[in-house]
Point group: C2
Chain length 344, copies 2
Amino acid sequence: MSETRSEISQLGEFGLIDRISKKINLQNPSSIKGIGDDAAVLDGGEDYTLISTDLLAEGIHFDLSYTPIQHLGYKAVSVNVSDIAAMNGKAEQIVVSLALSNRFSVEAVDALYDGIRAACEHYKVDLVGGDTTSSRSGLVISITVIGKVRKERIVYRSGAKPNDIICVTGDLGAAYLGLQILEREKEVFKSNPGMQPSLDKYEYLVGRQLKSIARTDIIFDLEEAGVRPTSMIDISDGLASELFHIGKNSNVGVRIYEDKIPVDELTYNTAALEFKIDPVTCALNGGEDYELLFTIPQTDLEKLKNHPDIHTIGYVHDKANEHTLITKQGNAVALKAQGWNHFG
Amino acid sequence: MSETRSEISQLGEFGLIDRISKKINLQNPSSIKGIGDDAAVLDGGEDYTLISTDLLAEGIHFDLSYTPIQHLGYKAVSVNVSDIAAMNGKAEQIVVSLALSNRFSVEAVDALYDGIRAACEHYKVDLVGGDTTSSRSGLVISITVIGKVRKERIVYRSGAKPNDIICVTGDLGAAYLGLQILEREKEVFKSNPGMQPSLDKYEYLVGRQLKSIARTDIIFDLEEAGVRPTSMIDISDGLASELFHIGKNSNVGVRIYEDKIPVDELTYNTAALEFKIDPVTCALNGGEDYELLFTIPQTDLEKLKNHPDIHTIGYVHDKANEHTLITKQGNAVALKAQGWNHFG
């Protein structure tokens, strides 16, 4: 046994992944791409087979005091399906493993699977297997998703080219604010259990946190429009962190414009007026929006310009890892990737 | 919210799986077989793609006070690879998800991955992805394995036919006794921490518990011999439980002979003389041997009879779910499947 003890929190999640993946060599010819993108890529004959996995742990990723367990099941599927979408693929199957303590009843497990099944129906994904076991404490949900993409349609994080246009779907920051609201109401409830939280006003924000939807519709629309992005990633850790991933993997830099970042009006007002935080910071570093971030050649811009839910926010340049935000006032500031450090 | 609360322990693991799988309908044409065998089966063009997943939770499946963490990594891969072998397939890729508390150092994670990588090299499997996150307490390892099998070579639990011969590989019961020894030494150590446990004498048994090996060699040998079993399953929950699975899925009964069940001499003596338990009970209900149980047509018996590690233990008959053990004294007794109930 080694005498040294290094803390995982010092490495952080990305440091740990780097450390693990550095020692890995792929030996099977069917393993096309391993760790380092939204999904692993396997040779599936005519198509590529895509594999991705996400683990959600109680107390870290979710709080059952305000998360309806059906929604949790739905979200656990969505975050996995989103990883397949980020490769421009279509999810087809999932396997679900649960570890749960005896705090959970059969009815709770039923409700969790009701949510999982509802998501499966929405995404047309089959639940084909899993493992269910007990845990000493709490609930852990581990889902692996299997998807497909035609070989010529696959999109990695690594294909962004100078002058490409950067696009994001939907709006950003709402899921983060939804979480802030839920946490605030929990504190209010704790100090005054008789008070019913009034979340109606924040329905959109809370819904973005609790009922995440993977943008499989965008994958369909891109194909319809005849556009294959040069790079793509889903926004799970916040726009800034994802831009850094694209920059690092594509060996490019990005320049984005604050006034182009799509932020919903309710998100904007709740952030600025109630929480006194910068709405753009929520969009850049909030995470859990599960929107798609992708780059396209300028020549494809015309094909997407009428899409109501795809927004251009900037462009790619050749100065590797020089990532700039142009503020509303016209100042150029260096982008910072914050991401999450659950080990912190 | 429902008012009823039913305990999972009353349903048990198999009851819970039945409850979940009953509500599932497969909708994708590529989903050939879902829940209910050792692995899910997907149409992979020329071959079938096999998917299986296993979750190991600290305090339930392993005890780090006597389990070297490298071995745990190795075992977590083995139990997954074993599921693919049980479909007559070859594992090719794994994805690994970890949830771990800050009790674990970077060095511990390194050691865990050393074991995972050693297993990957042994089985020629690529680690292609995963998710690493923190947990509130303890370690959870969730691995999903992806494998392949030529369509005409696949073996389900459901193909056993009357008069087929029942075969098992290796020997049974040793892993269970290894666990008993480790638990005993732990108690000794707790009451007298100065005492060093002497496990040398039990090396084989302890090794069978801590360093599980999937029988991928047997899959190779079966193909070499030109034998395709009519049904197959790996022995994770004990021989009796697995025979019940084959019986239920194939709609047949089995008749096995106590004196044919392969039990290693050290297993036998340790069970009978030290622990005063029936060695055959260990083999029938012990579990975690990760040997293979399969059935073959009588006409294939000749091809395997010289294999040193394949043992015939009985035969299949047409009385569905009538499972009998013929004791050494020649008495016929009904087999009981005990299996594990972690929720108990």
